[in-house]
């Protein structure tokens, strides 16, 4: 009921309700509108806890309110007499210790069960393996079994009851601690440089789910956004094939490709099949297949791409790509080249 009231509250905001289409961007992420396990497992426990806390609030808050109203000194009171001086009562104290202990036991059991279900899941079939490496300030995404390397956008097939497609995420960091959170799909988990954390999602609804880095990692922590694209199985397969294709090499953009190389873009970025093999920045082989640039800071359109190439610090001040000081001709050539990288 809280969940429905909540959805009503937030329904006025765009992007919230009823994302059935794979193109619908769910920019408002509501933890009370979970999509698939493990978010749904958390949601069940959360509702239980909320109801218990609401009950405690009403009872204790009510007692407080009652005490203030009922035992307030009236002006008619004889100020010289004090009320009966009660020091305590062991019986009453025992009585009010037991219910909290019982509540705590219930919550502890619910917690233990849900923790086990989420941290030690038993998947039906082989999960899709996705390896996510957090960088300052973008997400490197690998599909090791499919030989795909991309950035910031994670595509997964939707799960049906009859055909569950769990996705196992391996989280690692290339530099500092980050956090991975897409609220409607799962709780969050840290992305740490000295260990790999395993997490998972199993979304049951089509849509594009937005998430954020949750651990301060520097100047552009706020714009280290995540996009999880949940699509129909056929569409996912299409995407996989597209990502596995070698990049387009169009003769018309030959100058752009050369300019990309001579301006040392390739010392940070990789484009398969070229000499550019840097790993400090995102893999650009299929750059145009992504909806945003700068890990979500702006849509991937001409105006933004031009601005980014002219000076990334304008769209994302403090990001680690410096102003490359391209002259207008180089900029146009590189832009034309990048736009062929589907």
């Amino acid at each position: 009921m809280f969940h429905r009231a909540f959805l009503l509250l937030t329904a006025a905001l765009p992007g919230t309700v009823g994302a059935q289409s794979a193109d619908q961007v769910r920019s408002v992420q509501n933890i009370f509108a979970p999509v698939g396990a493990p978010a749904e497992l958390i949601h069940q426990t959360a509702v239980l806890v909320l109801l218990i806390c609401l009950g405690i609030f009403l009872v204790v808050g009510g007692l407080l309110f009652y005490a203030v109203v009922r035992y307030r000194r009236r002006s008619s009171d004889d100020d010289l007499t004090e009320p009966p001086q009660v020091y305590g009562s062991t019986a009453i104290e025992l009585a009010w210790t037991v219910p909290p202990i019982l509540i705590v036991v219930v919550l502890a059991l619910a917690t233990a069960r849900t923790v086990g279900e989420i941290q030690n899941p038993k998947f039906n079939g082989d999960p899709l393996q996705v390896r996510i490496v957090g960088h300052r300030f973008w997400w490197e995404v690998h599909y090791p079994k499919h030989n795909i390397v991309t950035a910031n956008e994670i595509h997964v097939p939707v799960s049906y009851l009859s055909a569950q497609r769990p996705v196992e995420l391996t989280l690692a960091s290339a530099d500092v601690v980050h956090g991975f959170w897409v609220p409607e799909l799962s709780g969050k988990e840290w992305v740490v440089p000295d260990r790999e954390n395993k997490w998972w999602i199993q979304p049951t609804s089509l849509g594009i789910y937005l998430g954020n880095c949750t651990v301060i990692c520097g100047l552009q922590h706020a714009n280290m956004l995540i996009r999880v694209v949940v699509e129909a199985p056929e569409d996912f397969d299409t995407w996989v094939k597209q990502q596995q294709r070698p990049p387009n090499s169009d003769a018309s953009t030959e100058e752009g490709r050369k300019a990309f190389g001579t301006n040392s873009c390739g010392s940070c970025h990789t484009i398969d099949g070229t000499t550019s093999n840097g790993i400090f920045g995102p893999n650009l082989t299929h750059f145009m297949s992504r909806q945003t640039l700068g890990s979500g800071v702006a849509p991937n359109d001409d105006a933004n791409l031009k601005s980014w190439l002219r000076d990334p610090q304008v769209l994302k001040p403090g990001c680690l790509m410096p102003d490359m000081k391209l002259d207008p001709q180089q900029l146009d050539q590189i832009m034309a080249y990048l736009k062929t990288l589907n």
Binding site: F32, V86, Y87, S89
Partner: protein, 565 residues
């Protein structure tokens, strides 16, 4: 006995001297404060320091809220924002809340136990000045020199300085060192102060005041200072390791050398969790003194209150990793810390019941100290409940590092602890200054601040539910966060207005407040058995202590406590 500068005959003083007035000149007044080792003056210096830094960090909060009021805000740059949130949090904890705690305890404890001063008065002064100067050292970082990214040299990695963001590779320049060193120095001040207070309570109680007859405020001070003495060193140790890493290349948190970022978290939170109990227990102490006096009944269940406090102190040592549910602990670790966290809610909740039972059957006087206590009870209840939500680890996996957590801890620290501190002011200001705080100004303070508090922090719970993470300098439109952030910012200005009324009240009442007399509230503990303000030596004579309420026994010889306790 009478080795102060003047001898004040009890009952004859109509216009109480303001502290430091004896010397007569402004420079004399400053000298008095700089050289003093008197616990009352040091207590007021601590409290005054806390108030000053409260205003400074509060202005930072206003800037933060201004930046977040609208999406794609342009009030601050990303670097300035990160520095503001870091310094706001660090200052509020270490130079506002801690000095307030030490100030309240310093002022009240010797008076409440019938002592002349603290056990080690010169050490007391030393502790204060360490805290005082280290705070300015931290603030100095804002102007100390250009940071590497064009903003100031202030620390910007968050108040708990997550490694390895704080390593030299990712935090160039000395900004993080301003954080480590200032907190290290104030930590030494806190530990020495903690030892001083514990020795005072254990060794300097007046005749007849057994541990079972101490005011609850003193019990809470004792447990608090135990936590200080044991749990501040882990923070100091971690900061020493961090500084060794930053300057001598030590590998403690260096992942490439095999170091662990998680180890920093463990060390920090072993300090960090008991720290919040260090801050809240003295507030509980204030509530435990004010509620009985204004309900006209003794505290309900004194022995259980003491037991609950000690239990809270012990369990607080074992819950720290509830701040780390999302770092990648295994199921056993997560479940253990969740259970310990839920367990600590039992003695804490019980205290609320005891306070309520004290009010039951009483004749509640709705004076300002009590008004703030009632607000405390309501807000601390909510804070505790959101804490239970966070203690249930799976729920925490959604709520952690989001605005829900920010809402929760501000509910505890502002809605709870700060209201306890306000109650402390309204209740004991008459004792320290000999004059009452003005009631009208006080009500303006209360209502403006409370409205502002709720406007600011209630919506942040919802922003957290909708996925807004912490420490982001801005957000894009369409995330569902705009409305909540805007309301939150409006509330901040209401709070500022409330604080302005409060400060005006403090200053105006020192000269124009109604004369208080020894015992304006008809209370029962020893501090009310001397003049307002007390003489340098505190007590000319001490009443006999045969129960928890020595003044009740004096005022009600036909019905003394010691017959029934």
């Amino acid at each position: 006995m009478a080795n102060g500068t003047t001898i004040i005959d009890p009952g004859t003083e109509l216009l109480p001297a303001r502290p430091g007035q004896e010397r007569g000149t402004p420079t004399g007044w400053i000298q008095d404060l700089v050289y003093t080792v008197d616990h009352k003056k040091l207590g007021m210096l601590y409290v005054g320091t806390g108030l000053f830094f409260f205003v400074v960090a509060g202005i930072m909060a206003l800037l933060i809220r201004a930046q977040l009021a609208f999406p794609n805000g342009r009030v601050t740059s990303p670097g300035e924002f990160n520095a503001l949130i870091t310094v706001h949090g660090t200052v509020m904890i270490f130079w506002v809340a801690m000095p307030m705690v030490f100030g309240m305890i310093n002022y009240l404890v010797p008076l409440m136990i019938g002592a002349r001063d603290m056990a080690f008065p010169r050490l007391n002064a030393f502790s204060f000045w360490l805290t005082f100067f280290s705070g300015f050292f931290l603030l100095f970082s804002f102007i100390a020199g250009p940071g590497v990214y064009g903003h100031s040299g202030a620390p910007d990695a968050g108040w708990f300085a997550i490694a390895p963001l704080t390593s030299p590779a990712f935090s160039k320049g000395p900004s993080i060192d301003y954080w480590s060193l200032s907190v290290l120095i104030t930590g030494i001040g806190s530990v020495t102060g903690g030892i001083n207070i514990m020795v005072t309570i254990i060794c300097l109680r007046t005749k007849g005041m057994t541990l079972h007859r101490m005011p609850l405020f003193v019990w809470l001070a004792l447990v608090t200072m135990f936590l200080v003495v044991v749990f501040i060193p882990p923070l100091s140790a971690a900061q020493i390791m961090l500084t060794l890493g930053r300057y001598l290349g030590a590998k403690f948190f260096d992942a490439e050398a095999g170091g662990s970022a998680i180890l920093w978290q463990h060390f920090f939170w072993i300090f960090g969790h008991p720290e919040v109990y260090i801050l809240v227990l003295p507030a509980f102490g204030v509530i435990s003194e004010v509620v009985p006096v204004f309900s006209r009944k003794p505290i309900f269940g004194y022995p259980m209150m003491v037991a609950a406090t000690i239990l809270i102190g012990f369990i607080s040592a074992g819950v720290w990793a509830h701040h780390m549910f999302t770092v990648g602990l295994n199921s056993f670790g997560v479940t253990f810390f969740a259970m310990a966290t839920l367990a600590i809610s039992v003695p804490t909740g019980i205290k609320i019941f005891n306070w309520l039972a004290t009010m039951y059957g009483g004749k509640i006087r709705l004076e300002l100290p009590m008004i703030f206590c009632i607000a405390f009870l309501f807000q601390f209840l909510i804070a505790g409940l959101t804490g239970i939500m966070l203690g249930v680890a799976p729920f925490d996996w959604q709520l952690n590092d989001s605005y829900f957590v920010i809402a929760h801890f501000h509910y505890v620290i502002v809605g709870g602890i700060l209201y306890g501190i306000f109650a402390f002011f309204y209740y004991w200001y008459p004792k320290a200054f000999g004059r009452m705080l003005d009631k009208k100004l006080g009500l303006w303070h209360f209502w403006l601040f409370t409205i502002g508090f709720h406007l600011t922090f209630d919506p942040q719970h919802f922003a957290g539910f909708l996925g807004m993470p912490r420490r982001i300098y801005t957000y894009q439109p369409g995330r569902g966060w705009e409305l909540w952030n805007l309301i939150s910012t409006v509330g901040a200005f209401f709070q500022a207005a409330g604080v302005i009324f409060f400060v005006i009240n403090l200053l105006w009442s020192a000269w124009k407040g109604k004369i208080a007399g020894d015992d304006p509230w008809d209370a029962w503990t020893l501090e009310w058995a001397t003049t307002s303000p007390p003489a340098d030596y505190n007590f000319e004579t001490l009443p006999e202590v045969r129960s928890r309420r020595p003044l009740w026994d004096l005022k009600h010889p036909e019905d003394p406590d010691w017959k029934f306790e």
